[in-house]
């Protein structure tokens, strides 16, 4: 059963989480129940596909063994080679699952959510390397973090230390009331976004473009804006469900969207769109790459280092979406925009060519909006496929 895909899913979740709500409202500990609920929910979600269930279990065992082994190793030594190998092993299942279709093989490695779960595993390896995770993590905590069902299919991507804080925290009755209220609020906002606005755009606008537009160009233009809006409402709606349900379970999953269409430049956009993903790439790819290059002093020019970092980040992000040409093109397009914007920002810092006022702010939002929509047009596979 697809998470948040049908009303029957919501009804099942409502029954499943009713005991959690009662325990929470009484101010009692409820994480043990929530762990039990996660097992049941996973069984329901993956019940439709036996091969995906097997792949999920194998993937989880692989990640847990890898993380446990690396934490044990890191207590004694800290070799760069071992770290690199651990990262490669951690993304290996995802890589295989992306490559298998190109070898005409059935994808026995892949399952719903593999792209998102991989981030959690890799992140644990990296933070262990940094010395931020020192203690042995209990196997239950580790499994619960990786398999937390509200965010299993498409995020938001949480971080272990953040998630674990909610496991430790004592939630009072009053605090839980607020969490529950916010959670339900988010779920209903999700209904509005995904099932009313997103559905309407797709069903009444995009599906009827053939009748609405007079020319092929107009057709593509309207599709570009329609699809961009649909993508936002559909995904932001989904994210609201995932965040709302996790609130009800006492975990504040991170936000994924912050009004992305009022971004004033492309950098601002990536701080507002699919935030848990872009922040992941920022913290674990871009910043680490810059740090490494700067320390080794291989490249002197600050601008080139930063641009190389952006190219690496967005190419990886593109490939992560899929190996199809449109996703790679989407990555290259955003890398290019970031590089260009970076030069512009530098130029403007010197020459103060673009003044900061209300008028220029509005103009900047409008320009950014169109560049962003063109990106989604590429992403949709309309420009090249």
């Amino acid at each position: 059963m697809t998470p948040y895909g049908s009303f029957s899913f919501f009804i099942i979740i409502a029954f499943l989480l009713a005991p959690a709500v009662i325990l929470g409202l009484k101010g009692k500990k409820f994480h043990s129940y929530n762990i039990f609920a996660t097992v049941i929910a996973l069984a329901i979600i993956f019940s439709s596909s036996f091969s995906e269930s097997v792949a999920l279990i194998a993937f989880t065992i692989w990640q847990v063994l890898l993380i446990k082994a690396y934490i044990a190793y890191r207590k004694k030594a800290n070799s760069g080679t071992v770290f690199c190998l651990a990262v490669i092993f951690s993304i290996l299942p995802l890589t295989i699952s992306k490559l298998l279709p190109y070898f005409n093989q059935s994808n026995w490695v892949g399952f719903l959510g593999i792209s998102y779960l991989t981030f959690k595993g890799t992140q644990l390896i990296m933070e262990t390397r940094d010395g931020l995770i020192k203690k042995d993590i209990s196997i239950i905590r580790l499994l619960y973090f990786i398999l937390f069902f509200p965010t299993i299919s498409s995020g938001p991507i949480d971080r272990f230390r953040r998630f674990d804080k909610y496991m430790e925290a004592e939630i009072t009755q009053e605090q839980y009331k607020l969490l529950l209220y916010d959670g339900i609020n988010k779920i209903f906002r999700g209904f509005l976004y995904k099932f009313i606005i997103g559905y309407s755009i797709n069903h009444y606008f995009i599906a009827n473009l053939g009748f609405i537009s007079q020319s092929s160009f107009q057709d593509h233009l309207l599709y570009m804006y329609g699809y961009s809006m649909y993508l936002f409402f559909d995904f932001a709606g989904y994210s609201n469900f995932a965040i709302g349900v996790s609130y009800i379970m006492g975990v504040k999953s991170p936000e994924n969207f912050n009004s992305p269409f009022i971004s004033r430049n492309i950098k601002d956009f990536w701080n507002r769109w699919h935030m848990s993903l872009s922040f992941w790439f920022r913290d674990y790819v871009y910043m680490r790459f810059i740090f490494w290059i700067t320390k080794k002093k291989w490249i002197k020019n600050r601008n080139s280092i930063s641009n190389l970092g952006y190219i690496l980040l967005f190419l990886l992000m593109g490939v992560w979406h899929g190996l199809e040409i449109q996703y790679i093109a989407y990555g290259i397009y955003h890398a290019l925009l970031m590089v260009l914007y970076n030069s512009f920002e530098r130029f403007n810092k010197k020459h103060k060519w673009w003044p900061q006022n209300k008028f220029t702010h509005v103009i900047a939002i409008i320009i950014t909006f169109h560049f962003v929509c063109f990106g989604f047009y590429i992403f949709a596979g309309q420009l090249i496929k």
Binding site: M126, E127, D130, G131, L132, R159, K267, R282, D283, Y284, Y286, M287, R288, I290, F291, T294, K295, R302, I305, S306, G309, K349
Partner: protein
Amino acid sequence: MEFKNEVIELLAEICQDDVVKEDPNIDLFSTTLLDSFGTVELLVQVEERFGITVPITEFDRDTWNTPNNIAKQLADFK
């Protein structure tokens, strides 16, 4: 106090703006004085000058947001 001034001096170099000295409570991220690139430069310099290693994911933009707060956080790391 001296350490704090050194940190603020370093921030002024990285942000290329003396406003961080005039207003040590200014939010460096919302004013775009500091971005991810600047943050990394800061962490590299902090390691070289003060010998303090701050892991990248420890640098949380909510608590490391102003010159004063950064100085405070770094002092805790010492």
